[in-house]
Symmetry: D2
Subunit: 334 residues, 4 copies
């Protein structure tokens, strides 16, 4: 039963942060094997989370590794100055991954934009790829003429199974074998546990992309085990299940009522005594047979996705090329 | 209080069908002043609803007039044969509006595609306009050479206030004064009360477009009163508030539990005794301050909107031009 | 014959600069009624041309008025720093039109983006409209709260006859009657006499838009005579006829050969003795019956149009709103 | 000198048909090693051309192999009935390639759409890929449940060097090694020798894609030598150099004048005595230094490319899957 739940959560949240929140119980203290630290500055909340060992991994259903989550509720307002600050923060944290993985300043990098460019909430990866500053061909064709401060960067959008007929992981594997990068950076759109995180949150993780993650329901992963080189995964939740909206709202209502009017048992009846998990099962049991448990996305998805793709591409360009200044990363993307 | 509720419903549902469902109470019988008839054939459910008088209008918060709602849950599957059948049904019902309004076979028609082409769930109107077979210029430039079976049809997408700085109703009024149509057909994306109706339902109404309706929150309407000519409104719900998803789900859960386990009072506590309305207020009270009561749309919105725009354009082309056969309407659009 | 030629030129070039070049004859000196002054600075060549009287107008087939042409061959290289400088130059010259026409700092402005958004080389106008900072609705809805330094600006893209069935001039007239601007700025894609000017040249003119101009072959104009308010036209050549490419090349070859090898009579035979005009007729006589006299555009048209639309929108935003600094106009557009 | 010319032609035309026309001399009879047969039916002209041996290959600068060229000047008119007939003809001829290459009914096929989806005239390949009916994943995931009449088909759009930093041939090689197709079909946009062939002509060839061909100037090819499996190339000319327009027009003018007025020597002078080749060099000598020898495309390129992509995808779907009827191929694409 435990595994089933974990698998369900896996489908429903790809964020380590949310998985940790789900696993926490009031009064139980920190989860063993999980280190977590949160800072909040000028509307940008950064959580650095480490899954240290197998015990932590079991507890939250996420791989051993480092996860950084950048949450910026204000991103939905379209504030370009805030977007620039987020890109700079992203670049800073991304660089700490490069250092921890011992990726040298000249190591070859392949950026992989997963997802379907015809489905707006799934188009994040391909959009980032379009704004990446690729340089590998200059190193191949005229290595003597490349200015210092750049490394060989390439970028591909492998498409999705329904359009190509080939697993994206197989395509990436083939391309990696030909182009021989030292590091893969994979960008993917995710499902979230919470509507408020949709299009406002970026996760960086050194664990790669695992089967079943992301919107496209991959059946094979992109990991160091498979590819032989490290894979840093960048994910942005862009959709949420209707059922998780409902279940989250229950929780918020309970807290709200508890704070205002007293006894939630009286108001919520048995609902109040259900575990979050159990209640989510109930919600799904009701919604799914009617085809109502859709993945949904905010109405303004077109603009949100474009903004976040620009932030990530700007941040990556600054992190990957020393010649590009992290103080003004936005100038290098459209 | 009553008015406030009606106004709220007005914001939250633009479908007469949903307004009627909201106004109905178990055991209270038919609402006076509301005639309604539903047929269901091969997956296409058609409800013909008439608001006969002021009493009916008050009861459901919708204008006196005729409303036809076509519900096709299967539309989300992308079945082209079903799409063709829906276009044919749409054309048939649309023609009954033309007859009831005494619109002659040669009357001049202006099709108005409301909404924002840059926001996918709001782009329905502009997409329909692109697929309308316009003929007015042929009648103006070479009236002798227009084949029989056509009427003068024009089509415009006036844009939205945030992009033009001008109310779309003012733009339409200006264009109508210049081009002198006998009938306006206005297409708009709507908010729904129910996730399952999003992108699966088409409403035709002879009441025009009223202030505050549609996604774009118009402040002025497109009605016969304002424009001096009849206005048929075609609406498709393409978004839904998170709060209505939650509230609907409560209702479904209650019914589900009642059917399976017994006493909803015990399970739901006081929640069970709340009116739908009261409970919705509670949900909003919780979600809104957190910025969580977003308008959302299904992940596959790009394809859904394109499919429905084609259905409506096909249906309109067949209804407006006798020379185009309702049996094969799809051939005249992209 | 004269009129026929003028009409032909009218179709083939919408640039006053090119019309003047066509009318000039070697050794004939300045054309009476035409004042012209050219400066060239850092790759931006600006020609200020005035058609002073009827004689000048007859001579070059252009209306009496002021024309500024900004030529920037380097625009095709995608240099963003150059783009910013062009936007600043454009703003400076555009402001001189506002002053000359006595348009006050608070006068109401309607920006009209002519053309078809589905045909890339004709999509310039609609693209500019999307990047204009519209403010009219703020002045209408909350006049007390608009910060100083702004004026009421609105913007529409009326579409083209083939899609709307209505002349764009009629649509604009209707909208202007409703929204009552003091000035109209109309942006249109043009045909050029020279491939090298395509997507590298911007013309500003205070003469409005005349029938037959632009790519879309309007049959009615947008002028002060028709609309009762001044119309400033902004045009960018985005296409060129195959026949004008050929004819231009003849001329270039003649000059080239003359400079290098001697007698063009010997090399070109009678071709050499033809008037430019006569030869163009010959080229068309050959190409047209075969359907070869197509309007063509450079392969990279998508990027070129986007870049120039951004330059014009940036320049207009800076010119129209005092609060926006001409030194950094680009920040206000996407 | 000979080789240089051939190389130049190679850059300037990717059509075997045009290469043959260029190599032919009046009164010289058939070129040894080249078999060619042309039929013309209902506006569709089909040329089956075979380069039989090294002598033929040298003569026209094309690889030994089979080439079918389908020319349909009427395609520019947007006639959907004609488009369906062209798709059917294309399917018929494509099937003859499958037979000649002994590709079995169940052989695995990888469709490769070369080109840049952001540059409209270069987006043909990616657009075809989007409309290919891919089935490989069904064969992989549930081989027992695939209906008879289908084969495993996959499809990828590898992007271009400037966006990915990796040669498209390397990407395809990597994907082919992973997915193990028995045949590759590569679709590419080409440069033409003649404006009238742009967007009206489709070439099928069993020679693969060679370095330097297509718009994107590949430096490596997609051939059986490199990939170990046969490669059928499908090409559509979508751009033409300004210089070839000029040079072609000379030729047309000469023929025209000869037919109408007598002595071209008198009219054209020495130009008349130049070889086509020599004259083209002269034209380039004049245009290139001025940056005027641009690749151009017809103004309506957006629609043309979409129409031809649909024709090719429809034809391929019918050819590759027996279950799809060649009589009604269009139904399987958007």
């Amino acid at each position: 039963m435990k595994e089933l739940d974990l698998e369900l959560y896996n489908v429903r949240t790809d964020l380590a942060l949310e998985a940790k929140e789900l696993a926490e119980r009031p009064g139980m203290g920190a989860i063993p094997g999980i280190l977590s630290d949160t800072t909040d500055e000028d509307g940008i909340k950064v959580t650095v989370l480490q899954v240290q060992n197998e015990q932590g991994s079991q507890a939250i259903g996420k791989m051993i590794g480092h996860y950084v989550t950048i949450e910026v509720p204000g991103l939905r307002s379209g504030d370009t100055e805030l977007q620039d600050r987020v890109a700079t923060q992203f670049a800073k944290h991304f660089e700490s991954f490069l250092e921890r993985l011992n990726i040298s300043k000249t190591a070859r990098v392949l950026v992989v934009g997963l997802g379907n460019w015809n489905v707006t909430p799934d188009a994040l990866g391909p959009l980032v790829v379009e704004n990446i500053m690729v340089t590998r061909h200059f190193f191949e064709l005229m290595p003597d003429q490349v200015a210092p401060g750049y490394r060989p960067v390439s970028a591909v959008a492998p498409g999705v199974l329904g359009i190509t007929g080939i697993e994206s992981s197989e395509i990436v594997q083939g391309i990696a074998e030909q182009s021989k990068p030292d590091l893969i950076i994979a960008i993917d759109a995710l499902a979230s546990k919470a509507l408020e995180r949709v299009n406002t949150t970026i996760q960086i993780a050194d664990t790669g992309i695992h089967p079943g993650s992301g919107i496209g329901n991959k059946r094979k992963g992109l990991t160091k085990d498979i590819l032989g080189i490290p894979v840093i995964a960048i994910g942005v939740p862009t959709v949420v299940y209707a059922s998780t909206i409902v279940n989250n709202t229950f929780e918020m209502m309970r807290n709200h009522l508890e704070a205002h009017k007293g006894d939630p048992n009286q108001i919520f009846g048995l609902l109040n005594q259900m575990e979050d998990n159990e209640r989510l099962q109930l919600v799904r049991e009701v919604l799914s047979p009617l085809g109502h448990d859709l993945l949904v996305t905010p109405k303004e998805v077109d603009q949100f996705i474009e903004d976040i793709a620009n932030i990530i591409a700007s941040g990556l360009n600054a992190s990957l090329h020393q010649a590009i200044d992290t103080d003004n990363v936005a100038a290098y993307t459209h």
